[in-house]
Amino acid sequence: MKALILLSSLGVISLLAEIFSFKKLLYPLVLLGLTVAFVLNIGEWNTNVTYFKMMQFDNYAVAFTSLIIVVAFLWFLMAEGFFKDETNQTDHYSLVLFALVGAVLMVSYTNMTMLFLGIEILSIPMYILAGSKKGDIQSNEAAFKYLIMGAFATGFLLFGITLVYGSTGSFNLEEIKNAVSVPGTVPSIFYVGVLLMLVGMSFKVSAAPFHFWAPDVYQGAPTMITAFMATIVKTAAMAAFLRLFDDTFHRVEATWAHVLWIMTALTLLTGNITAVFQTTTKRMLAYSSVAHAGYMLLALLAANGYSSSSILFYTLAYSIGSIATFCIISIVANAKGDDGIHSFNGLAKTNPLLAGVMTIALLSLAGIPPTAGFFAKYFIFTSAFMAGNVGLVLIAILASLIGVYYYFRIIIAMYFKEKASEEEIQVDMNHKLLLIVVAFAIIALGLFPDAVIRLL
């Protein structure tokens, strides 16, 4: 809760920076604020405070909030250029900070009202940020599609919430859970409501067949915002999804488990197979992000004691891997003017550091030991296997084999293709530092996964 208040205040302070002209101080101030928020948030571990039956900072919420703040910190280190280039930079700071507020609400809600508000507080700034390159028609298109699809999904979610409210008389998760504890007494509109909420949440996590907005939005938005969507938005949406379906709707699992089974299989296959045919790296990572949503749904479907810890680890591994890849893509695309895979040809000879970190990050996303991604997939598959979803685990393993193919296309381009030019790409010192830290974190998480997996 303290972290939430601090983040909101930081957002307001960023808006004031334009008036009182301390724009130059804002960047260090935000980094400092995020550090303090992280420390305050860690202090709430094991306190389990409930606020007005609306939010509960249990260990689940604290763990995911910490994850979001850490990733946001890394994101700010990466995205310094995004704020420097623009004329209205203070707006961008506050929009990003308010989006973080929404993300924290989404991992800590115990009431449907807070879920709805969290999703909207996260989404509305993201619509604006996706269109923040105002003159660029691709960015416009991304913002427009994101807005229409986001609002459309919210409509489904709200209709679902309403039907659940109508049949149980409450928006509170605990009361809903108790109201449906006796099967046969629940009106049938409740089940319709659960399925509509499933559709709404699937839009938000970009699960097939509701994933079609994701590639367009990811490709059109500025690269830094794409990185934000792939990491923080995905983490928050997945955590909210898990909180709702693994706890509240667990007793009516028969209603949604089969639907989710098919959706998970579809997500895994369409995400991975379509990614193979992409020629631009951003669009390929967008499809890969759809595929990663599929792996996380696998743990969600398992709905056992391992789900939350394995999803926490997976989102962490995926987020830091994505931060590294998007950082390198934006550096390379800025230098070469194109984010196609051919831009990476011969990168290992001109910039061995970039190529090395990119390789580690891609190996992690593909799930190859000793990186964090391997254990992330391992825990997910174990949890699904224990729940008896053997068929789905087999599909997931097949899908991740396809995944290895398209991640290796970039690695092969970097190491074995002829380079187009001899020029070395100039990289800022802080970007170099960030990439080295992230690469170490990926390896360290791969070697000592217990540190995170035992938290929940």
């Binding site: 709805f116 909207e120 509305i124 298109e141 913002a143 427009f144 309403t162 590639p215």
Partner: protein, 106 residues
């Protein structure tokens, strides 16, 4: 107030809202003009509002009506952002037809 709402049985509200919601969904899916798409989304949200008020009245519970205020506030924010984005698109394409937005495809 409650009695006025409860003159009509709950099933009718459910039916009306579902029909309105479906019209909204179909409008989003099939109309090509961006403004009409926004209107359809509003229709979806207002169908939800209507149903929430009906449920709230029949359950004698005020929470549903409070939720309607949240939906209205958020819908207003969303439309404000949406129209701003539409203005931005219009400045670049001189059209509000969504078929001009086809640069992102593979």
């Amino acid at each position: 107030m409650n009695s006025a709402i409860q003159v009509i049985p709950l099933e009718w509200y459910l039916l009306l809202s579902t029909v309105l919601f479906t019209i909204g969904v179909l409008g989003v899916l099939f109309r090509r003009n961006a403004i009409i798409i926004f209107m359809s989304i509003e229709l979806m949200l207002n169908a939800v509002n209507l149903l929430l008020v009906a449920f709230s009245s029949f359950l004698s519970d005020s929470k549903g009506q409070v939720f309607v205020f949240f939906i209205m506030a958020v819908a207003a924010a969303e439309v404000a952002v949406g129209l701003a984005i539409l203005m931005m698109v219009y400045r670049n394409t001189k059209s509000s037809d969504i078929n001009t937005l086809n640069k992102l495809k593979w």
